[in-house]
Symmetry: C2
Subunit: 403 residues, 2 copies
């Protein structure tokens, strides 16, 4: 009998308890042992739940129960998730989480503490919901020279952008629709401003490079500024707009991490990832590009990833290949030499003055503004060109990188 | 120092040796030990290769060298791959392969023998080339009630079908083009008749269910009969045609396995998998649908999967969760109750006689023939309806299942 405790009986916690009950046969066969949800920690009581008798309010009961092998932290937020994780690991309990905030902020510390105590800290569900992505990134691709990990990491923003592309909605209407369907929170800032995607690309960066960038150092731009005019211009050049988290790795191992709306050519499969789905793409030599795709959120899907971690702990014992993270401030020198093309839209501009500022451009037909694609530019060259164009009397409305 | 022997110095064997050399730093760090390619077994000599001094012609040298930990079998074909695998495992050596034929035919025996000898038998590269798919299927999704595993498992046929869709080519021209680009062999039968996809879906079935169906029991249809008229009809109803391997699993665990051209609605991401790429999709409860995508062949990509297996052996030791296969003749009762819609094209038919034979149909506008979509039918109902239509004087030209 393997005893587990679930911290937080919300959507994910409920999903985990349900999976362990509904799929008891699969889980017992796979893990090689019966799993018992001994405790569920929550502030609330759940008198009508079939798990009512496991609900407790005092974490120290779990901490002090030597029968509890594994703690499943699905509370969200940094505190008290941080404290409970430290206390669990210190007492020799494995910890599994779906909480990207706490992994992005303290994953380095937790992994070191787990190692010290001979237990596992796992977080497959923290990125891409149910998609098995972290586990194959840890186990299957690192023999390659990785040059990029990128992804559509937030289902809410991808749903909004898909609506804007399919129905010509503006951002506000698409957001309202997402809220009415339960895909966006009443306060949608963490999604639409890119905060959620930023945490996830920080975690992916750490898996790829061992360096966990502090999230406040990652240039992060949300989708609130995307206009129907941008959607229309993107379509004219055969692209979709996606909120993309990217970690680009130089040959010397320097990294440049960012979150920003990005134009993706439609012939890339990533451009076809629609609605609330997520996708994570790994680029390396000699593997080429591989992609992991699926539902990025939801009780069942996230629970699948959490229980998958539990199965791996039960089957493999302590993985000697567990990742090691080291906190870092993002390097900036490398990002200065990275070049990209940009889509630019401006008022009071003309093709000729755009060309004077940017060099050879490809104009996009736009009825009410001047829109064009720039040559390949570094960040510095882009700023310089934008400045030139602005000085000629134009005002920039949109500026979106092309993948 | 970990000593390995490579059996077969063709495209994949060369790719493996190159990866171990080019990415020596990555591989040593990841595996925790330096890897030495001690032997390369081939019938030929390679005097100009940097590995010339490792090339040998006698397998017993490898078999009897206790320093060889792991044998990498990338020869292809059933024999002598079978014998070398048995002899390696029996002498306590791990075996890694990219050889789908030998896995589909003897995987059950090899896995049992590996277990008996306390070593690993791994074959990530046998399905989907470099895509990490088997490993996550083994480790990350089996806590779900799986209802289907399906995939675009053959890059050659997917390239041909993509050409037919993009350029209106007929099958023969698209095949010639694939041959001229090196994507298809001079004798393309194993690809275009579905044999290769059949082996791969047999392996995926075994991973999902533990039952390895004998390939001669799997209904297998290739793409040689696909006409430009079918492509055009598919487009009219918003579908692509893909050669799909499918393993459908009933709630009772019965399985129905098949390989056949299949119409896939364009709003499914699987329909957008183009060119020589492969994709494997897993459907389960509560995970939903997840997909693994990437290059399905090629020296570098396949080598990445082979070396990934080596890394996992070196990091994790013997995986207690290694799959167990049991050979089986395919069950047929379940496939008799499975229902699907079909696209049918017929000569000398009319909408009215089609409806008399099939029930309510949706006609597709086709200039030179009668084309339509049937209601949901079992195999038996389909045969019955086809018989009725034929008896009315019509002749069936195309009959393709819709996903």
């Amino acid at each position: 009998m393997t005893n587990v405790a679930i911290l937080g009986f919300g959507v994910v916690g409920g999903g985990v308890a349900k999976l362990l009950t509904d799929n008891k046969n699969e889980v017992t066969a796979l893990g090689g042992d019966e799993i018992n949800v001994k405790y569920i920690l929550d502030l609330r009581d759940f008198p009508d739940s079939e798990f009512a008798d496991r609900v407790i309010h005092d974490f120290s009961v779990i901490e002090n129960d030597e029968e509890v092998d594994t703690v499943i932290e699905v509370m969200g937020g940094s505190h008290p998730a941080y404290e409970y994780t430290v206390r669990s690991l210190s007492r020799g309990k494995n910890v599994i989480t779906s909480n990207k905030e706490v992994v992005a902020n303290f994953g380095d510390e937790f992994l070191a503490l787990a190692k010290e105590n001979g237990v596992s800290y796992r977080f497959e569900a923290a990125v891409g919901g149910g998609i098995p992505a972290l586990s194959p990134i840890i186990s299957c691709v690192k023999q390659n020279k990785l040059s990029e990990i990128r992804g559509i990491l937030n289902g809410t923003t991808n749903y909004i952008l898909t609506k804007m592309f399919s129905y010509g909605d503006n951002f506000e209407n698409a957001l309202s629709d997402a809220q009415s369907k339960g895909y966006a929170e009443r306060n949608p800032d963490a999604d639409v401003l890119g905060t959620d995607a930023c945490r996830k690309i920080a975690i992916l960066t750490a898996l790829a490079t061992g360096k966990l960038p502090e999230t406040d150092t990652i240039p992060t731009e949300g989708i609130t500024g995307i206009r129907p005019e941008d959607v229309s211009a993107a379509e004219k050049i055969g692209c979709k707009i996606k909120l993309l988290g990217r970690c680009v790795i130089s040959e010397d191992g320097e990294i440049a991490v960012s979150v920003a709306p990005t134009l993706i050519p439609s012939d890339k499969l990533l451009a076809s990832v629609s609605g609330v789905f997520n996708a994570i793409e790994v680029v390396g030599d000699p593997i080429g590009e591989v992609m992991f795709y699926g539902p990025g959120a939801g009780a069942g899907s996230t629970a699948s990833a959490v229980v998958g971690d539990l199965m791996q702990i039960m089957c493999s014992g302590i993985n000697t290949a567990a990742p090691v993270f080291e906190k870092c401030r993002q390097t900036s020198d490398f990002s200065k030499v990275l070049k990209a093309q940009y889509y630019i839209a401006a008022k009071n501009a003309c093709a000729k003055c755009a060309e004077a500022a940017f060099g050879k451009i490809a104009e996009i037909d736009a009825p009410l503004e001047t829109a064009f694609v720039t040559p390949y530019l570094t960040d510095a060259e882009l700023s310089e060109s934008v400045k030139k164009l602005t000085e000629s009397g134009a005002s920039i409305i949109s500026k979106i990188r092309i993948l």
